[in-house]
Each structure stands twice: as C-alpha cells, then as structure tokens.
C-alpha cells in the first residue's frame, strides 16, 4: 500500500533548541499510527511541520506524494489534512454546530460569485453539510449542545467538538493531538472506536499523539516513539511499550 504520509529526516530547531532531529515516519491509508513520547519530545512540533504551522529546516514531508514543506497552510488543508489541537483551536464566539461546519471549508465549494448569486449548488452543499454535521454530532454525543456557544462548555466536550470538526471535512490524513485528554473512561473507548472506524471504513490515515496508553494500544496498528526529537522505537504497540529504551525515556534511567 502507498504511504499517505511520508516524513523523511525532518530537522527543526528554534535557535539552539533542536525540536526535531531527523525522525522518519510513514502512515498508510487505513492505518492508525500512534506517536508517543515524553513531554517536549517533539510530537506536536512534528504535527506542526506536517500541516504547515512550522517549516522544517531540512528533510521532507510528503502527503499523497506531494511535498508540503513550504506549501501555504490552506493548500495543505486542501490536500485533505485534518487536525485537532492539543489546547484547542475552536472559534470561541461560535456555536458548536458552526464550529463543526467550519471544518468542511476545504472539502466544500462555493466561491464569492456562487455565494452572492446564491446558486442552487451552494444551497444543496450547505444543506448536505448541515445534515452531515448533525449526524456527526449525534455520533459523538454532542447533539444536545449543538446550539450552544463553545465558550460555555467543559474541556472534554470541546475536545470532541474539535474531533467532529476535523471529521466533517472527511480528511485523508488526520492528525489528532491528545484527543483523550479531559475525557472520562467510557468516552475514551468511544473515541477509539470512532478513530478506528474512520481508518477502516473510510481508509483515512491517522496519526495520533496520545499519553493514554490504553487508547494507543487498542486502536493503533503501529506506534512510533519520539524522544528529544529523535525516533527511538517503532513497531507493535505492546512490544514498543516493553522496549527498555522507551521505558527509560518515559521513566528516566536508573541513576
């Protein structure tokens, strides 16, 4: 199978701080890959290189075979790269539904002229999108809060709204940053099932940053471990969790 995401030897530094020190990684269609590592290991930095928030100094990041380093961010999104943020990137003034609808921007058409002329196609797209968004909200147990401004809701709910927003655009590649943060136990299981479905049914490639090891081992096909910007292990989730180097990175080596 062709890799949907190919990261090769990416270097990123801020002044003297080496955030990414040459990790390479691939994620194929329908595959869920976990990206784990201690805080500050470079997981979110790698995400930022993939969807264009950072531009790596060297190395390549390819999505669907297309080099994205240096591509404008909206073009990367247009390739079908969806993302949720660790500390939320919701539109605070808007309702839950509006936030989710905004996620379909790159996946829908309707330019200025078409909108001004209110072409039938624009209306149909909007109607379909609303139906799909409400479906997703129901699926993620958010239908009750659809009309509420997001500013009034708890953190765990906001994480699920972000996920709904990323899903409504039907991403080819989904980057999920700590989705289980703030969720209760049962919600974590549902989240895992949702991600798995997205990969298996829709063939999306998913890269998952997560500290919740239960979620990682249950949904990920493979796991990659970052430490100090370097890839220190990769493979089956359970085996990786036993790798002495990984254990040392998480717990510190015995003095």
């Amino acid at each position: 199978m062709d890799a949907l995401l190919e990261v090769h030897d990416v270097h990123l530094s801020f002044g003297g701080l080496q955030a990414l020190d040459g990790p390479s990684l691939t994620v194929a269609d329908g595959e869920v890959v976990g990206l784990i590592g201690p805080n500050g290991a470079g997981k979110t930095s790698l995400f930022n290189c993939i969807n264009g928030l950072y531009r790596p100094q060297s190395g390549s990041v390819r999505v669907l075979g297309r080099e994205v380093a240096g591509l404008p961010r909206h073009r990367i999104a247009g390739l079908g790269v969806g993302r949720t943020f660790q500390n939320l990137g919701l539109l605070a003034s808007q309702t839950v539904l509006e936030n989710v609808l905004a996620g379909a921007y790159h996946a829908t058409r309707g330019g200025w002229w078409a909108t001004v002329l209110d072409l039938p196609d624009v209306r149909r797209t909007e109607d379909r999108l609303r139906a799909r968004a409400l479906e997703l909200l129901t699926e993620l147990d958010l239908a009750d809060v659809a009309g509420r401004p997001v500013g009034t809701l708890p953190f765990g709910t906001l994480k699920r709204i972000e996920l709904a927003r990323a899903l409504v655009g039907e991403p080819r590649l989904l980057l999920v940053d700590e989705p289980a943060n703030g969720l209760v136990h049962s919600e974590v299981a549902e989240l895992g099932a949702t991600l798995r479905r997205l990969a298996t049914d829709r063939g999306a490639a998913i890269l998952l940053v997560e500290h919740h090891m239960g979620l990682v081992t249950s949904v990920c096909d493979r796991v990659a471990v970052l430490d100090f910007g370097r890839l220190i292990a990769e493979g089956d989730p359970r085996e990786v969790a036993r790798d002495p180097q990984v254990v040392a990175a998480y717990l510190g080596t015995a003095a």
Partner: protein
Amino acid sequence: MSTTATRPARTSGGGTTRRGGGTVAEWLRRPRPPLAPPRWLAVLSTVGAAAALLVVPLVNPSYVNLTVTLVMVWTIVGLGLNLLVGFGGQVSLGHSAFFAIGAYAVAVAGEAGWAQPAALLVAGVVPFVVGYAIGLPALRLHGLQLGLVTLALAMATPAAIRAFEPLTHGSRGIGIDGTPPAWVPLDHDQWVYYLALAAASLGYVVTRRLARGRLGRSFVAVRDAELVAETLGVNTWQTKTRLFATSAAYAGVAGGLYALLLEFVGPENFNLTLSISFVTLIVVGGLATVPGAVLGAIFVQYVPTLTSSISPAATGATYGVVLILFAFFVPHGLAGLARAALGPLVRRVPGRPKA
C-alpha cells in the same frame, strides 16, 4: 469578551449570583442567535418594509426624503464595513477615503457626461480596485497597526483631494447635476432616493449571503483564530483582501449616491469625523450583524443632529461616549437588543422557521 460571554451560562442555575446591576449587564452582553421567523412572517415583513420604503418619497416633503436617503447611504457603508470589521475582524478607520473616491468618481464621470447609473457603477469599481491595491500590503498588518494605517488614509483624504487639483478642482469642489434623466417623471430627491433604495437593497441581500454559510464561517474563522482558519483551508490573506476591496466598493457606491444627493463634492465633506461615524455606525448597530447596519445608520443620521441642537460641539462627544458605552455594555449593538426583545415573540409565532 469571550470569557465574559461564558458567565451567564455558569451562573444561570444559581439564584444567589443574580444581583441587580450584574444581571442587567450580563443580559445586555449575552450573545444571541439571529431571529429565525417562519417563512410567512419573513416574507410578510419584507414585503411590508419594501412597500413602505417605496411609498415614502411620494408622500413626504423633500427634506424628509433627503434624510431617509442619507440613512440608506450610511446603511450601504455599514453593510460593507461590517463584513470587513464585524465578520472579518479587520479594523478600518479609513473608509471615508473610499467614500470620497466614490463621490468624486460620480462627480468626474458626471462632468464627462456619463449617465448616473453608469457613474455609480464606476463609483463601486474604482474603490474596489484601490481597496484591493491598498489591502494587499496593509492586511499583512494586524489590529492596532492596521488601524493606524487606515487612520492615516482617512486623515490624508482631504489633502489628497486638494492635491489632485486637475481632476478634483481642489478646494473649489465640483458641482453635480443630480436631476433624473428626462424619461423619469420624478423630482431630484425622489430619484436619488430610489437609486439609493435599489443599491441598499442589493447591498443588503449580497451582504446577507456572504455573511452566512461557508464564506461567512471563513470570515469569522479569520477573525477568531487566523492560524486555525488556515489549517481549515482558508486562504486568509485572499479572504481579507477581498473583504477589504468589497467593503471599499460598498463605501464607494454610498459616496457616489451622497454626491448625487448633495449635487456637490468638496474636500471638506470627507474628513476623519466621517470615518469615525462609520465605525460608530457598525458598533452601535451591532458588529457582525446584517440588520445592524440599518439600525446604526439611523443612529448616525438622527442622534448627532439631536445632540448638536444642545451644543454644536456635541457631535464628536456623542460618538465618543456612545462608542465607549456600546463597546462595554452592549457589545452586540442595537441588533443584539432587537434580538433580545423580539426573539421570545418570534419564537411564539406559529410556523416552521425557514432554513
């Protein structure tokens, strides 16, 4: 503002936190969705308003027509400026410049013998192009810096008009013939009224369409979280530039109508106070609301006139005080208040809300 918006929901359950002033302030600041009347009510009120507006100039003396036409002129400015500032979050204190360009476009086209509707078209196109050209570099700036650049634009306008003497006739200004074409059996004030009504209605519909749906959401995303908007696929720079140019075109058409109405343009008409009144208009009317442009236009047309009858210097002070009061206490403007007042009534009306 977002943090305060969360307060009502958190405290709504507890009676103990509901104390006098706090409750009123919170009630005023609470965000509310637009009114969603059933289709029959929406159609009825639109037809009713249209009928009333069509009859107004036939039954009123010309000075009334003049002020109502001015309300429509300000409405057009407000509709465009609210797209840029209210929805898109890009501050402009410089739209008096585009208003002036539109006014002078009509004046110069009139001198060249162009028909008025054609001149009005030019009054929209030229500011659009100029707005695009200014927006290309200016919209790389944010917040305060963008405010300062556009402020400079407004301040330079009267001097620039004098400097382009061959075209603008400098301080002498240009007289305009606003009388209707021979085939139109209307007086000057009625003719310009209908031109303004047509332009304002068109502007209203276009603004409403742009402000909702996919594009409207992209404007708000640019305003609330520019980086996030980009990761959602929004070309933020293009969006901002188009918004700027579009709002400049609105201001230009309004300026052109203003010139036809007054039948004269001179550099003194387009000073900084005009720009301030535009900003006051959208803040008082309600940022990021479409009907707010109408309510704000009514405000800037009538209220300063009222206060200046108390003291001639009161106009500037009125704008200042009102801006502060609204920014603090009524962030959703008169349109927000209208939603608060009419919302419960509209919800009780039978019939399915139109989508």
